[in-house]
């Protein structure tokens, strides 16, 4: 029997329809398709795919359960390692993680591991999650700062080891970027909430409105808790640093997405937070964040949504699926362009952006060919809104207030692979340690830190 060379497609909302709503784009696999897709897996003895999974899921293990139609068992196998499968199954950049290592890539497309993980997570959501067994209490207390994927994973794993875990979150909702950054149509907030409920069912307490470093210091947490994990993520948006960036109409991606996602500005005035978008929107950058901005703009009623990027499609850092979806929805890509100034009217309202055309030159340190401006190639386009999505620096609050913590030159907390920082008993992981990265890397960091914290507590 020969193996099918391509992944089974995931049914999804047609582009014309979906740009009018905030509902999730792909519907997910049906049982039948999931079983067929699972059967493509060769059950390789050396499990190359697992090397690509930061949270160490037994990939062939859960896939073989699906192939046999035992979805409950598949769920158990995933849950043994991953507390948040409905999230990773949706937003993990699997093409460069597990699927990037899949043996099937030699003959065609890899097994749709991410899609299968999502299928199982959704199956479990619908069926109702089994309450986990409560382990014996160790009598140890751990504080987790930040409820993004790093913090939630660390908290969940520590709770399963029997430690009493309290999460401190600055905002009024849990999830970090999962809640305020990634849009509803890609990661429904009900799913994030339900995954967080699961973490709580493991015995984790979450306290909101606590800005660590302000409301309470890390030192004070150290007095009350046996160890602290810091997962405060990336904050401070980077700017283009070109003239006109403070004009009315220029937003950072974070502010725009936070208004829309967490504060539900798309339901204004039912919800109190407004957002203003206009007819033509230009997004700068080409990562996941940029795709989210450009696609959200269309859903808020923009007639034209541009992406301006200095390099070419090959260098775009976004997940392949996001770029594909953006194109289908009509986002206009202006590649090899570099903005040089924003132009406003006499009232200071954004009207235009001027940019230079670029060409690819010699490779830089990262091995990517460096974009160089073409002299005299200035062009202008009229725009109403500019969204700057060119990355974020680590959240400054804790580094600012805790001088003993060693900080890297980009403002990140220095931590080893297991999350140990320069201060005994304080661990850190996720975007605060690595700079803006991915959900799954943050989860992997939370997982390794939980293990290191457990060892630390046993030896303490």
């Amino acid at each position: 029997m020969s193996v099918r060379k391509t992944k089974h497609e995931m049914p999804e909302q047609p582009p014309r329809e979906r740009i009018k709503n905030f509902k999730e784009v792909p519907y997910g696999y049906s049982k039948e398709i999931a079983i067929e897709e699972a059967k493509r897996c060769l059950q390789c003895k050396n499990k190359p795919c697992m090397k690509g999974c930061p949270v160490e899921i037994d990939i062939p293990g859960f896939i073989s359960c699906i192939a046999q139609g035992d979805f409950d068992k598949a769920s158990e196998v995933i849950k043994a390692k991953n507390n948040l499968p409905a999230i990773s199954g949706r937003v993990c950049p699997y093409e460069s993680q597990c699927e990037g290592e899949c043996t099937l890539k030699k003959i065609g497309e890899p097994v749709g591991i991410g899609r299968l993980e999502r299928f199982i997570a959704d199956y479990e959501q619908q069926k109702g999650k089994n309450p986990p067994k409560k382990p014996k209490s160790t009598g140890r207390k751990v504080a987790v700062v930040g409820s993004g994927p790093a913090g939630l994973t660390c908290a969940g794993d520590l709770a399963r080891m029997g430690h009493a875990v309290t999460v401190f979150e600055a905002l009024h909702d849990p999830g970090g970027v999962l809640m305020y950054g990634i849009p509803e149509f890609r990661l429904p907030k009900a799913i994030v909430k339900s995954e967080v409920e699961y973490i709580k069912s493991l015995g984790v307490a979450i306290n909101y409105d606590v800005v660590v470093g302000k409301t309470i210091d890390v030192e004070e947490l150290m007095e009350e808790y046996d160890a602290v994990f810091i997962g405060t993520g990336a904050g401070l948006p980077n700017w283009l640093n070109i003239p006109g960036e403070n004009l009315d109409g220029v937003y950072s991606a974070n502010e725009f997405l936070t208004r829309v996602n967490m504060m539900k500005a798309y339901k204004f005035p039912e919800y109190d937070t407004p957002v203003k978008i206009g007819k033509v929107v230009a997004t700068f950058g080409a990562g996941n964040v940029a795709m989210d901005c450009a696609r959200t703009s269309l859903r808020l009623g923009a007639e034209k949504s541009y992406i301006l990027y200095r390099r070419t499609e090959a260098e775009m850092p976004a997940r392949a699926e996001e770029i594909e979806h953006a194109k289908q929805e009509g986002v206009i890509f202006k590649l090899l362009t570099n903005p040089i100034r924003f132009i406003g009217d006499e009232k200071g309202i954004l009207k235009e952006v001027e940019y230079l055309k670029m060409q690819l030159g010699e490779p830089d340190d990262s091995g990517r060919r460096r974009p160089v401006p073409i002299p005299g190639s200035e062009e202008k386009i009229p725009i109403d809104t500019a969204l700057v999505a060119i990355g974020q620096s680590p959240n400054p609050l804790i580094p600012q207030t805790m001088k003993e913590l060693k900080i890297g030159k980009h403002g990140n907390i220095i931590a080893d692979d297991d999350g140990r920082t320069s201060v005994h008993g304080i661990f850190a992981g996720g975007d605060i340690a690595t700079g803006a990265a991915t959900v799954i890397l943050a989860m992997g960091a939370g997982k390794r830190a939980a293990r290191a914290i457990d060892t630390y507590l046993k030896n303490k």
Partner: protein, 273 residues
């Protein structure tokens, strides 16, 4: 939930609420602020901590009703609770012994000025306070601030109390007659701009407290960015107080008008300033 334990109506649309928030009260310092959300559908809005009581675990806020959220807040009463109340945020004021300091407050800016006046007095400064408002009914905390001031002046636009004219006229007189080491100004942007322009001529250190539009208040969204000496700063983590001589006030005014169309409350705000 954060219960309201006291309410006072200070003037027609300026109200005071005392709220139980022990963690915030324990840490609050003059110059810092909180972000609150009334309910699940509410907007997050920043308000300065006007006073706090460590023992009682309460924080006092004083606000001008300008739009949806502040008006709704004004309808709440003792016994009601707020859904969220996070803080204290921002950097505290630089309170130390300067010598002679002039504290200038305009409109609701008088509320956040109060704890600073108190702290500056307690640090041994000679404190001169100048409060300004459109008309005398809009003045706040007169007695409270006077109690911690060595000299105390009032200016109203209509002359209904004190000097008829602007706070900057009074400040000019003070500068003409004595040596001033520091000026602290909180109020409408235009007032802070005028005060800063004046003190710049005499090279007097001037601090102002800025109020750009905020969302998270933790340095994540970049919405509160202000231009200081040509550099982008985030008021929620780097401020809200900045060197008055370095602020780009025109840009701040512009950016604060961003949602004016959506909110439809422009006239009210203009009226208040």
């Amino acid at each position: 939930m954060y219960p309201i334990v006291e309410k006072k109506v200070l003037s027609e649309n300026v109200k005071l609420l005392k709220i139980t928030a022990p963690l915030v009260a324990k840490k609050a310092l003059p110059g810092q602020f909180i972000i609150l959300r009334i309910d699940e559908k509410g907007e997050r809005i920043p308000l300065t901590i006007a006073d706090s009581n460590r023992k009682g675990g309460t924080v006092t806020i004083i606000f001008l009703e300008v739009g949806k959220t502040t008006k709704q807040l004004g309808t709440l009463n003792v016994g009601d609770s707020l859904e969220n109340f996070a803080g204290p945020l921002g950097m505290p004021s630089e309170v130390k012994k300067y010598g002679t300091v002039v504290c200038v407050g305009g409109g609701v800016g008088i509320a956040p000025l109060y704890p600073i006046v108190k702290a500056l007095k307690e640090s041994g400064n000679h404190v001169i306070s100048i409060l300004g408002a459109k008309t005398k009914d809009l003045l706040l905390l007169e007695k409270e601030i006077e109690a911690f001031s060595d000299e105390f002046y009032i200016a109203t636009d209509d002359g209904s109390k004190g000097h008829k004219g602007f706070v900057s006229d009074v400040l000019q007189k003070v500068i003409d007659t004595q040596n001033v080491n520091m000026v602290m100004a909180i109020g409408p942007i235009i007032m802070m701009k005028v005060v800063s322009n004046l003190t710049k001529k005499y090279d007097i250190k001037t601090l102002v407290s800025l109020n750009p539009i905020m969302v998270d208040g933790t340095g994540m969204c970049g919405g509160c960015r202000v231009s200081i000496d040509g550099k982008t700063k985030f008021a929620c983590v780097d401020g809200p107080e900045f060197d008055g001589h370095k602020v780009d006030y025109d840009n701040l005014m512009l950016r604060n008008r961003r949602f004016i169309h959506a909110e439809g409350e422009a006239c009210k705000l203009a009226g208040a300033q």
